[in-house]
């Protein structure tokens, strides 16, 4: 440790330079990806025909309307199951659960659900929903599969939001004669709403962008018309992008980039919405 001051300062400079370089190496590819898709996707995606018509000529012309509709259906379907269940679980963990072995087991299960590979969810959905419950390859089976996958995100963010509500609010409400559920519904939930919403959106964002779980549970290569019921298969943006970038030779770049851009906008606008809700709520919070 008898380095001169100068040598130490030099190492410090080099070290900081290296750390900055590593950060740039992380960040620049993100900017590159987004920039490239924006620039090359915009010419295709900014057209009425591309957004609102069906694919033609073996996907090589026309638009991606059925894939957009399919992704919206799947996202809404996922919300339908995962929001009540995830919110219920979060309320249980934050307001009811005793500090015991079972609660720890629930937490462990949530952590594990979060780590299961998406293709394994796909297998599970195939085994349980498509084959065992005989739902077939359908929007319903796909939504159910996706909702189990998004559950851990929703539960953990919603629980955090509920826990952030000060204990005093609950104490006052109960002391005024409200029941536990009345307290939760009228006092705790409204206060935690922005946080819960953020979690829900982030969970659904993941669901909207995933391909592997819907591969064998919901997705269809091409459909000549929009799905008519929850038991129909559907096209979906991520699967469509996968198909047109790997399975169809001679696909025009314009359409590939256009599809990537629409998917990106779909997902990133959800991301943005979550961020805006979170920062607004933080600013407006009175406690």
């Amino acid at each position: 440790m008898n380095k001169s001051v100068f040598a130490r300062q030099l190492t410090q400079k080099i070290g900081y330079g290296l750390l900055t370089l590593l950060t740039l190496l992380t960040v620049l590819p993100i900017l590159y990806i987004i920039g490239r898709i924006l620039l090359q996707g915009a010419p295709a995606a900014l057209s009425w025909e591309f957004l609102f018509t069906f694919p033609r000529d073996g996907m090589k012309a026309g638009g991606i309307w059925p894939a957009i509709v399919g992704t919206i259906y799947l996202t809404l379907g996922t919300a339908l199951f995962s929001v009540p269940l995830g919110l219920g679980a979060a309320i249980y963990l934050s307001e009811y659960a005793p500090n015991n072995r079972w609660t720890r087991l629930i937490r462990l299960a949530i952590i594990n659900l979060a780590g299961i590979p998406s293709v394994v969810y796909g297998l599970f959905g195939l085994g349980l929903f498509v084959l065992f419950l005989k739902l077939g390859v359908s929007i319903l089976a796909g939504s159910l599969t996706l909702s189990i996958m998004t559950l851990p995100v929703i539960i953990s963010t919603a629980e955090e939001a509920l826990r952030a509500v000060p204990q005093a609010f609950r104490v006052v409400s109960i002391s005024l004669g409200a029941t536990k559920w009345q307290t939760i519904r009228r006092i705790v939930l409204p206060q935690a709403l922005p946080g819960i919403l953020t979690g829900v959106i982030l969970g659904l964002e993941r669901a909207a962008g995933e391909t592997a779980p819907i591969l064998f549970t919901a997705a269809s290569f091409f459909l000549p018309r929009l799905p008519g019921s929850p038991l129909d298969a559907t096209m979906a943006l991520p699967y469509h992008l996968f198909v047109i970038s790997t399975q169809v030779p001679g696909m025009p770049l314009r359409i590939q980039f256009g599809t990537a851009l629409v998917l990106l906008v779909f997902v990133l606008s959800m991301n943005l919405a979550a961020t805006v809700i979170r920062s607004r709520a933080r600013a407006a919070r009175q406690w």
Partner: protein
């Protein structure tokens, strides 16, 4: 009697909440159960010996898992080589060095990366990364384990950065102050004091990030070339376990040997993710207990 209906309602709601509380346990169990149900009972004794082979060629009933496992291990290790330095470097930069306004830009950017659908990364991987790899490395194809590792490293970055950054943030200010007061430089403080103090959180970050990498499917399938052979270098095409399921499950007959083997691969992935997450969370829990002891 409105009073009584009110009570009934409250009881019913309490029950529903409790049931949804336990749903996570139910789902993990169900997933495990279905993966077993669709794999092991369908196996004949011959199947097991086929699994041990070194060739994966389902059409002729070669179900050797070795090439797939080797493929998964290779891209995951490659991803680790990319993601650990970049992820930890970025986490340290954000937590310790960056001024506030830079942090406010970097954190949302990393979140955006977390939200990027992996199929989009795969698409750009095919389009720009793999031609670049082919040309610069002078290879017959750019769809290799190397390209997969680079992109896979990117997908595990957000997890590593955010978990490691939280861990670094949690190190008390006084540790740093003490180190600086003793004459250490800021860099020495980071690497000799802060990072070691946050080591279990950093370890968790790496585990969770790599756990994500093993499970990544679509992107890996798109850029690694899908050749189910035991790879001889990082620059040959490979086929991972996840990609095999995704590529073949669609065309397989339900109840065939091939179908059951694919479910077995899923079961293996499930068990791996279980182990990774149990290890990661046990480290966190031990850490929390120690923190409680120190604080009390």
């Amino acid at each position: 009697m409105p009073q009584q209906t009110e009570q009934w309602r409250e009881m019913l709601i309490n029950w529903l909440i409790k049931i949804s509380g336990y749903s996570a346990i139910v789902f993990v169990t169900l997933i495990f159960f279905f993966l077993i149900r669709e794999s092991l009972p369908g196996f004949s004794p011959e199947t097991f010996s086929r699994l041990a082979g070194s060739r994966w060629y389902p059409i002729e009933q070669y179900y050797g898992l070795a090439p797939l496992i080797a493929g998964s291990i290779m891209v995951t290790l490659g991803a680790a080589l990319v993601a650990i330095p970049l992820g930890l470097g970025t986490a340290i930069f954000i937590a310790e060095i960056a001024p506030r306004w830079v942090r406010e830009i970097l954190k949302p950017l990393v979140e955006i990366l977390a939200g990027l659908p992996s199929v989009v990364l795969g698409f750009l991987g095919i389009l720009s990364l793999s031609p670049w790899v082919r040309e610069t490395m002078n290879l017959p194809t750019g769809l290799t384990a190397f390209s997969g590792s680079l992109l896979l490293g990117m997908t595990s970055l957000p997890t590593i950065v955010s978990v490691a950054e939280d861990a670094l943030d949690a190190v008390p200010r006084s540790y740093r102050d003490a180190s600086l007061a003793l004459g250490a430089t800021e860099l020495q403080t980071i690497f000799l004091v802060t990072l070691p103090a946050a080591r279990s959180g950093v370890f968790t970050a790496v585990m969770l990030g790599l756990g994500r990498a093993i499970g990544e499917t679509i992107m890996v399938m798109m850029v690694t070339g899908n050749a189910a052979m035991i790879p001889n270098s990082l620059f040959s095409p490979v086929r991972t376990m996840t990609a095999t399921i995704a590529a073949e499950m669609g065309e397989v007959a339900k109840g065939s040997e091939h179908y059951h083997v694919l479910f077995l691969i899923g079961l293996t992935l499930f068990v791996i993710s279980l182990l990774v997450n149990l290890t990661a969370s046990s480290v966190i829990m031990r850490q929390q207990k120690r923190a409680e002891r120190v604080l009390s």
